[in-house]
Amino acid sequence: MDIMSTENVCRDFPSGRRKVRVLYDVSLKVEEGSLTVLRGRSGSGKTTLLNIMSGLDDPTSGRVFFADREFSAMAPALRDVIRARQMGFVFQAVALIPTMSAYENVEFMLRIAGKKADRARVLECLDKVGLSKRVEHFPAELSGGEQQRVAIARAMVHRPRVIFADEPTAELDSAMGMSVMKLFRTAVEEGTTVVMTTHDTNIMELADMIYTLEDGRVTDVRRGGEGL
């Protein structure tokens, strides 16, 4: 069953007086409990597409569905609630709250999602990303990779239906990147849907579905393990 899909999504950005089209008629489907990868060169429109799929941004034309409901038809407040409860985010920019410790950053997501501050769950997630020894550190006291891993823990802690991850492995070495991918894989086995972008070819074997974007168009769709 598809948890979300896009239909002929176009996105224009104003550039000076003209408009620049970044996405051209993108249509894709994401199956629930799968790991979907959006790959493409820098500037191909991956982040833009991810933002539209997660309801952070609206398409210029075309439609976006999440759990059979159209995003553009929803009230903004409802979208906020859906994002808080059913989605987790890992941003391309490491975006931890600087005044909260690693633990608090993760726990804060639970609070936003309206769940109980469950210490065991928070520690479990931090442990999964290999940071059980960095719990009380503040972002400024963590390396870039460590910060990224906190962000991943934060994206999973409230057991969302979908995790959107924008280049989650960019800051990590290949071994660490692999272990993060495995983390996502485990989450997928547990029923979570993961949509991520990357330009790292190594990690794609773990994907279920791979969409290739080139200059805002989907130029290639294939199943994971089919090879490139």
Partner: protein
Amino acid sequence: MFKLVLRKMLNNKWMVACLLIGSILAVAMVGSIPMYADSVLEEMIHEDLYAYQEQSEDKNYYPAYAGKYLVRRQFSASAESGAEEIEQTSARIAGYVRQLGLDTLSHTTHLVINSVTLVPDEKSFASVNKMTEFHAFSGLNDNIELLYGRLPSSAVTDGVLEVVISRAAERAMDLIMGDTLTVKGTPLGSAIKAVRVVGVFNYKDNRNGYWYGSTSALDKAFVADYDAMTTYCVEREMCVRRVEWMYALRYAQIDLGNIGAVLGTYSYQITEMTKAGNLTFDIPAYNVLVQYVSRETELNIMLLVLQIPILIMLAFYIYMVSKLIVEFDKNEISVLKSRGCRRGQIFTLYLLQSGVISLIALLIGPFLARAACGVLGSSDGFLSFGGAPIRPAVHLKALLYCLAAAVLGVVTMLVPVVPASRTDIVILKRKKARGSGKPLWKKLYLDFILIAVSCYGIYVYGTRQNSVSAGAGSTPIEPLLYLISSLFTLGVALLMLRFYPYLVNSVFKAGEKRWSPVMYSTLTTVARQKGREQFLVIFLIFTITFGLFSASAARTIDKTMVNNVNYYYGAEYSVRGMWYDLTGGVTSGEPANDSTQGYQPLNMEKYTSVNGLYNATKVFRRYGVKLWVGSTFNITADLIATEPAKIYKTLNMPTDTQRTVTTKELCDALAADDHGTLISRAMANAYGLRVGDTFEYTYGSLMKQKLNVVGIFDYWPQYDPLSANNILMIINYDTLAGLANFRLMPYEIWYSRDKSVSTDEIRASFKELGLTLVWEKDAVAELQQRANDVKFRGTNGALTLGFIVIMVVSVMGFIIYWVLSIKSRVLQFGVLRAMGLTGGKVMRMLIGEQIFLSGFAIDVGIVLGTAVSRLFVPLIQLAYTNPTPPQSVLLLAGDYGRLFICIGLMLGVGLSVIGWLISRINVTAAIKLGEE
């Protein structure tokens, strides 16, 4: 290079604008000091000189002129070379006057000739048989008007000298025009044998100071033609007794530019004339100006000191904003450096930027300063502008002050540039990651140091105050005290800031599990964020503390001044009439202490019917009264005898200041017992007297009288408990007057006053009733005069101005803080929004932060402001006026209200800006921001 600077400034346009406003304010504040001082002082010179003139005005004649330059020389009858010497002295004095460089309004050489015995011819009824003086004035003809007759001729024909006489002389000497009198002997020289009156004149009031002194000398004298006198009496025979050279100078020409030179010349000439020995002089302006110069210094110091805290705040503000700009530019600086830009070049870049800002400030500042002077001058109370506005000229001195402020501004702006231009990109990144550690003031324990220093200051001031005791007058320590209070405020504010994070953290910990995401985020931010918010907290604390302090200082000083005047005047209006002794003689002075002479009773009926005055009460004083208390005798005390039932209504004592009973109760007790007495606390303590005790007294020829102590007072008008003469008793006047050996002696009369009747009307009423007064004391007029005092106005104005500037700076600081805080956290807000926190919640989070920071600062400010007021205002008050009886520190609800309105406005503006900024945050763009 310059293009680059302008581009950079445009990039940071808001911050640059804030910096510019701060610089303009600083320049204006500094510039307003000399501008205000000079314009007020300029006014003051003339006012002082004019006041001298008014106060010495003899209503019957012509005013004593403040620009008088009068030199006298006496001659002995036998002097041989008189004519020549007069000539020389004339030249010398003319030279002196030229040296001063002031215009001469009028000038006269006044000759006084030996007294002459005259014999009237048979036809005349003249009563001139005594010695009579002859006078001659150069330039006389233009300054008299002839009532009849003609001006005297300059020639002596047939041995007859022609003279004119004044209207008064005509009456006094029973002369009429045409009368001829024979000169006995040759006191006027051999040529003059007789004198003929050819005219009668009145003084012409040209308002030029020509009639410089009392004209009463001419009431019984002849005025001859000046040339005739010179020719016949001076050159031929030396019979001049005295010559007076009088120059009426245009004192309005004395201003701040030439006062130094004029004073120097005066003092040089005075020394020279004193050395000469035979000259005496009367230059009233000299003393007035000398006094004025010391007042000038005092005013300048006071204004500067009152503004120092504000200037410090402005400097602080400029430094902070400049530092923020540099921080914003850090990346750019690093890039420039990696492209091979040298440190000096980066420094020059900022030098140019601050130069441009200061230049603009310098262009606008002086005009704002001029406006600020309006505030300073028209202020007749704190935040009240009832006085006459001042529109001073923008002169060189003020511009120099502005320039100095601008240069200092440039330096302040450059301070944060030095370390920034040194760092390269590697250090910068590391710094960014690790946070920049403890701020300097925390490491230096600046808060503790400031508090310690200011406490020491209070201690030193306290001990000095005890040794100086009352009447400190206007010692220049009060400015210092003001500084100490600012340091204290800053110290406590910093201390609060040191403990603030712990406080918030404990709130955070207290409910860690329960906090909503909004509260959670707010608390962690407030507790852990380092840096900028300290700027805000200090600003707010300072604003509120300073606001409250300024208000209460100004109010209390105002009130104390009023109280002081009232205390020392006792009644709203009091007079001492002219008394006639039993032989009919007039006494204006007080009779000697041991005098037993009696006086004719005063016509009290007339004194009680003066227009505008009522409750006439007799107040009789006697010093050195002898007492017997128990077995102790030979005690001396001061005595006041009055009418207790009436005096209570007349007394204009501040608030009831007696410690145990009210003044009314005391007066009632005295009224109830004819032989009762009220004694001073000091007297009670010195002789162990208590209510109900008795003692005996006597003075003059009075028999020993027994008195019952019916009350003890702490304060009574004019009574100073700290003085040496603090043994004072108050008794019933009527009982005293009824005693067998009582001699009536002059007493004062105290009145209540109908405020709608002017002082002039009251005076006119006294005159109409035929009552001559030795003196009159008008508390209302005194109050008005004191309120107009420059120092007073300046204090209120400077406090008001400071308050306004601090408010403006705080609002700006507040907005800058929030704008930057939001801008630097756009990414974070974007993430929070993406994570599903609604825009409203993000807004609430920021409001929460605001409440925690500003709320804390406001609370501290209110508590600290009240504390600083209670601590420092009494000391300042003491320095400004002599606080007997003490006035408690005034904190008016209205002032709190006004302050809260200002703060509310500030928060309102801040919140609107936040709302506007938040609504503009675009989530995807925000997230993008962090991508590089």
